[in-house]
């Protein structure tokens, strides 16, 4: 056994340049694979962090159609509803269109009671309640633009015309790393009051209601109760769990996700071709050595194992280095795309997949050369000239 290991190690190091190049290719591929898987996972982060006892009530027409804010009082009265807040997508431009981040007009009194994963200090919260133009920003967003409490910022409305001035009153943190802290929230009553003057048709409306249900078992019953209450009204509602709401949103961009997934597997095939090539070349050059080994009495299995061992060792070393580098690459990418992905953290399943694919590449690449080396006759082998 130890002799076999020694031979494998020596063989792997014989063509340094070739081994190093193969390793470099492997590292790049497994790294790319890991990063792509992480991106796909990050896409679903909103789904994972959805609270099971939370319902979203929106207009049945589509999520772009608003609901009268007066529905809130009636929804609150439904049995099983513990708390409720309402949120309205604002969609403003901060300085330039490319500075995109979500801005939500929310009910200041109840928002932080429902969204308990957004942690905020008591002082900031009361300051927010005191100032009608107040706004609270997430930690990530604050870091990105250097927002600090007291700063005055201006947003240019796209859905709601005009310029909107807001005063930052505090910063909220996420309860866990998956919580999205790249948003800005401000007061719905400020929005509404201005709309009453500027654009009456858009006033007294909100995007959706966020309903906190007493227990996760009652969500079906409560959502049914809410929707039947507004059936045949001027604005019918559609209520679903936060998770379903997020999935619905994801599903529509699924094509792109599927493409990213497919591409992440293509890279494994690319590196498989490179690795198989390396092994085929190596085995071809050493045919006469294998024949010598056979002539000395080693069986075909031993020769095959030599090739397999070399291939797997190179693949695993490359895979291990790539796995070690993945979190670094993900963190770097996360810094660049802070607006798109709330969190880019490498999951254990990604690491496992990387390991498995490295191993698979090592084994598959060795198959053809193994067969050839094992089956070659001693005389032919001794005669061959690489």
């Amino acid at each position: 056994m130890s002799q076999w290991l020694k031979l494998v190690a020596r063989n792997a190091m014989r063509h340094r340049l070739r081994t190093v190049l193969t390793l470099a290719g492997l590292i790049a591929a497994i790294l790319a694979f890991g990063v792509l898987q992480t991106i796909v996972a990050a896409w679903y982060a909103g789904v994972d962090s959805a609270v099971p006892s939370r319902l979203i009530t929106r207009n049945a027409i589509s999520f772009m159609a608003p609901l009268p804010v007066s529905y809130g009082k009636r929804i609150r009265a439904v049995e099983g509803v513990r708390n409720l807040t309402y949120v309205n997508w604002f969609g403003g431009i901060y300085k330039e269109p490319r500075n995109f981040f979500p801005q939500l007009a929310v009910d200041a009194e109840t928002y932080f009671d429902v969204y308990q994963e957004n942690l905020i200090s008591t002082e900031a919260r009361s300051a927010f309640l005191r100032d009608r133009r107040g706004a609270i920003v997430g930690r990530k967003l604050a870091n990105r633009y250097g927002f600090e409490p007291g700063d005055v910022i201006q947003l240019k409305g796209t859905i709601y015309p005009g310029d909107w001035e807001l005063v930052i009153q505090g910063i909220f943190d996420g309860r866990d790393p998956k919580t999205d802290t790249s948003q800005l929230i401000f007061r719905w009553d400020y929005l509404n009051e201005t709309l009453r003057i500027r654009s009456r048709a858009q006033a007294e409306l909100t995007g959706f209601f966020v309903v906190d249900v007493t227990s996760a078992d009652r969500v079906a019953e409560v959502s049914h109760a809410i929707d039947s209450m507004f059936r045949n009204s001027s604005a019918e509602t559609f209520t679903e769990t936060e998770r379903a709401f997020q999935i619905g949103f994801m599903k529509q961009t699924e094509t792109i996700l599927v493409a990213v997934r497919i591409v992440s597997f293509v890279v494994i095939f690319i590196i498989l071709a490179v690795m198989a090539n390396t092994m085929a070349m190596t085995a071809r050059e050493r045919l006469s050595e294998y024949a010598t080994l056979k002539a000395l009495g080693f069986g075909p299995g031993y020769v095959a194992r030599l090739i397999l061992g070399e291939s797997v060792v190179i693949a695993l070393v490359g895979g291990a280095i790539a796995i070690a580098l993945t979190p670094l690459a993900a963190a770097h990418l996360g810094g660049l795309t802070a607006t798109l992905f709330p969190s880019l953290s490498v999951s254990w399943s990604t690491v496992a997949l990387q390991g498995i694919s490295a191993l698979a590449v090592g084994v598959l690449a060795a198959l053809l050369p193994m067969r050839r080396a094992a089956s070659i006759g001693i005389v032919d082998g001794l005669r061959s000239v690489g």
Binding site: T22, A29, A32, A65, S234, V263, V274, N277
Partner: protein, 388 residues
């Protein structure tokens, strides 16, 4: 030189497995690269062809898409009477006052809802947009709860087809026809009478006004006239530009992601080529020595090895492009992040993509083959001839 090229060609044939694997790796990279470019060009073609150069679209100032915009009836009337607007055969201005709403419809074979864009259009809509043709059934009758659907919609949504009814905004709408909009964004929309749509959704303002220009160059005059009118809070844009802007977000996402991935993947393929070529050089030392002894120059040897790498890359390019051209049969539907509605488009292969991928493949071959070729050309004749 022809001799050396034949020599390279034969060498590739002798090492079939190795050559095939190297070219295969390159083919996959070319495939990813070309597929990304095809996806992007398909998306852009669809949205660019949605707009017409002879049309101007008017939306509320700073609204980027129609669903964000509002133009009330009074403003719409002022726009209609602008002199730069073309007049139709019946003496009426060729203007379509439109209202755009998103509705969620269940996709066929799943519970998932997708956003579909409903467009209420004016009576002149088909004249304003000549690329739209009714291919099945008939146009809706003005003032009725009838709609026509875009070609890309039929078959994608549960119970949406000519002759059926769909329910939204508390009304049943009869689908009386299907239109073809030449692969543009309208193919993913449902059209109805704007008066009826306004009423059903309880709105009293249009989303946009589309006007046919009497003269293509008249846009600036129209812009000048309407944007300086204090009664109006609108922005005038050429329709083609308006729709092209809607493709930017998704298009740049696809491009940035796709191109950085291809660059990363090409690293693997380049390494594969380099390994192959290094091995080729190492195992042919004696042959190289012989060639040099026969009087071939260093540069000839360099070129012959480089040619071999390029040949590999060409094979990879051809295979990858064939694979990618199969993608043209795939229809893609995805949410356009700018308009928030679903959009159907196809992978589109253009001559530019063929050239770009060729350059990309050649670059991979040259980069991968260069160092090994240099090594081959640097060998000393005596050492090379002595090599085992």
């Amino acid at each position: 030189m022809p001799l050396l090229l034949a020599y390279s060609l034969r060498n590739l044939r002798v090492r079939k497995l190795t050559a095939a694997l190297t070219a295969g790796g390159m083919a996959l990279v070319v495939f990813v690269y070309a597929a990304v470019l095809m996806l992007d060009s398909g998306l852009r073609q669809t949205l660019v062809s949605t707009g017409d150069d002879a049309n101007a679209i008017l939306v509320r100032r700073s609204a980027e898409v129609e669903i964000q915009s509002m133009v009330d009836r009074h403003q719409a009337m002022i726009i209609e009477s602008a002199p730069q607007v073309l007049t139709g055969a019946d003496g009426m201005p060729l203007v379509s006052k439109e209202v755009v709403v998103l509705i969620a419809l269940p996709r066929r074979g799943s519970e998932q809802l997708s956003n579909v864009l409903i467009r209420g259009v004016g009576p002149a809509a088909l004249t304003v947009r000549p690329q739209v043709q009714i291919t099945e059934g008939r146009m809706f009758r003005p003032g009725s709860s009838e709609v026509v659907i875009g070609g890309a919609l039929s078959g994608r949504f549960e119970g949406v087809g000519v002759g059926t009814t769909i329910r939204f905004a508390q009304r049943d709408w009869q689908i009386v026809g299907r239109f073809d909009a030449g692969g543009s964004g309208f193919d993913s929309e449902i059209w109805g009478d704007s008066g009826q749509i306004l009423q059903a959704f309880r709105r009293d303002a249009f989303s946009s006004v589309v006007v046919r220009l009497a003269d293509r160059a008249g846009l600036d005059a129209l812009k000048e006239r309407l944007e300086s009118d204090p009664r109006l809070t609108i922005e005038v844009k050429r329709e083609r530009l308006f729709y092209e802007e809607q493709s930017r977000l998704l298009s740049s996402f696809i491009r940035v992601l796709g191109i950085s991935l291809s660059a990363l993947f090409s690293l693997g393929a380049v390494i594969g080529a380099a390994i192959t070529m290094y091995a080729a050089v190492a195992s042919r030392q004696r042959e190289i020595g012989t060639l040099r002894a026969l009087g071939f120059r260093r540069s000839s040897v360099l070129f012959s090895f480089l040619a071999e790498a390029i040949l590999l890359a060409l094979v990879g390019w051809a295979a990858g492009l064939c694979l990618a051209s199969l993608m043209m049969m795939v229809k893609v539907t995805t949410l356009n992040w700018t308009t928030l509605s679903e959009l159907a488009f196809q992978f589109t292969l253009t001559p530019a993509i063929v050239m770009q991928s060729l350059v990309f493949a050649l670059a991979m071959g040259v980069i991968g083959g260069f160092l090994p070729a240099v090594r081959a050309s640097r060998l000393k004749i005596v050492d090379a001839l002595r090599a085992a």
